[in-house]
Amino acid sequence: MTATAPSGIFSTSYRHELALRRGRSARLGAVAVAALLIVFPFVAGANWQPIAVFALIAGIGAIGLQLLTGLAGQVSLGHAAFLGTGAYTASWLGGDQGLPVYIWLPAAGLVAAALGGLVGPVATRLRGLYLAVVTLALLFIMSYVFEQWTSVTGGSVGRSTMALTVNGTDLLDGVTLPVLGIELNGNQAYWFFVLAVLVGLGYAARNIQRTRIGRAFLSVRERDLTASVAGVPVTRMKTAAFVVSSFYAGIAGALLAAYQSYVLPTQWGLILSIEFVAMIVIGGLGTVFGAVIGAAFVRAIPELVRSLTGVLPFIEQESDPSGGVTVELVSQFLYGAAIVTVLVFEPAGLYGLWIRFRSFWKTWPWSY
């Protein structure tokens, strides 16, 4: 990425050096993105709204995995287990115990983080493939727990979850904004709630990246031996990465449970884990923004394929038990192909494409 940066990064003051967004164009870009995010739920069609909410929720989980895999370099195929933990913690606290959202939402994150902390000591002894397989084992063991612990998870038939209530109204029923008087439907209300959580957690992740811990994560990723020589406590940093990433996953799981209002133990499986890894790979490894873009992309594929059916009539709309070229299967195939294509042709992902595009126009016509 440094190779494509126009001609070095110049800072003339410490303020500039420390700023998250440097320069006027970056600030304008941030304002544009913010405006787009606020307007989006009002202009998006009814079929896109739920997908947008799912994408935002997935974005939170993807940021967590990004911190663990993209930043600290620890491969994890067990991310879905932490989402499930968060979902069931929230369902138990919010649904069975009747506690409000400001308790069950953080609690879901904390319980998942605690599980991550338990896994940490085992996982930090291992590297690369062994770590991938051990996190896979964790995933299988946790899905077994989700299926067997009937009193909390409802067993294989699943359970209904809690409602996300703010000021006594369920967000799914839609709310009226107090001052502005704008009426939001359920999806729009969820969009703004999840967006607020995502922005907060994304901002935190961005800052984790820039601080001492983030730099320690990076050094562990590049080479753990070098990191320990430089004075980074490698084992502690790896465990910390697992804890932080599981916290994000727990929050995402809780929000997902609330939005779906019914959860099944099978949904926290290997496929969900792979989806999360695909999100950060497609979006671009090591960047918070990339994780969110990747999440949006992966969640949007099925709807994109569905809108293609007008152009490509051989794709069937409805999924069929006997297979066939259906929207569901085509989008599955495409997302597998997207992973392969990204890794073979643009390892920096969608974010890398954007950087290339940007630096091309920034330096145009003298691109060298």
Binding site: A132, V133, Y144, S228, A278, Q332, G336, L343
Partner: protein, 294 residues
Amino acid sequence: MIKFLQLLFQGVSLGMIYSLIALGFVIVFKGTGVFNFAHGEFVMAAAYIVVAITATQPYGLAVLGALAVLVVIAMVVERFVLRKMIGEPLFAIVMVTLGISIMVRAVVTMIWGYSDKGFADPIGPGVWQPLDGLALAKTGVWTIGVSVALLVALWFFYQRTPAGLALRATAAHQEAAMAQGIDVRRMFAMSWAIAGLLATAGGIFLGAFPRQVGLTMGFVALNALPAIIIGGFDSLQGAVAGGVTVGVIQVMSSGYLSDYGGGRLQDVMPYVVMLLVLLVRPYGIWGSREIERV
């Protein structure tokens, strides 16, 4: 005692299937440095192809057909995807193979649908009774016999033929092998072809074991992963020993522990044992120890 022997036999025959699948992972990993997470889907695809061809053609032709398709798929994947990934970090390579596994799964579902298919094997459901009360399924006997024959052939190929020697040399040190005039690219292709062959064998037996072929087979084949970990990632004999261990553990726990943990303990037992082994020996029982001073 009879129950124990009965379960031991079933465990070993299931374990031999896992060994074949595990060897497919290990041979590619040792030979080319790629850990192919799509191998489970290859196994599944092989079983589906056999089912599809046996509907109209004799069994032998079906096996040959599946073998041809799988070897070609494996070599295409190697040539056009993983050849381009040489030198990329391990994580990227794992992700590419996961992407391929998703694609294979989607294509298999498009062609054959979601529901399970019956699997007709030429051996039939008969049993063989060497002892009074001990009934050994003929499929199981055949599974063990054919697997052992395959393993011996593989051992002979690796240890006693020039091509096997070249493969081992490539696995040991690629540059040194090139300096000796070995065509490393051909060796890579050959490793993948052998993995395709093992996937076909594994798919056929895994389909014959519960006598049906379904989309869950890709996940069942992942049970070869604990086998590999227990044995050690880069050890061929470790893969076989680990495979048999996992098979026996699974069948024993389904036979003796069916009253506990909702009767599904056999699904997680291999992973629990794997974690225990890893706590004691982080490189598996026969795996080579990476030099590590962290």
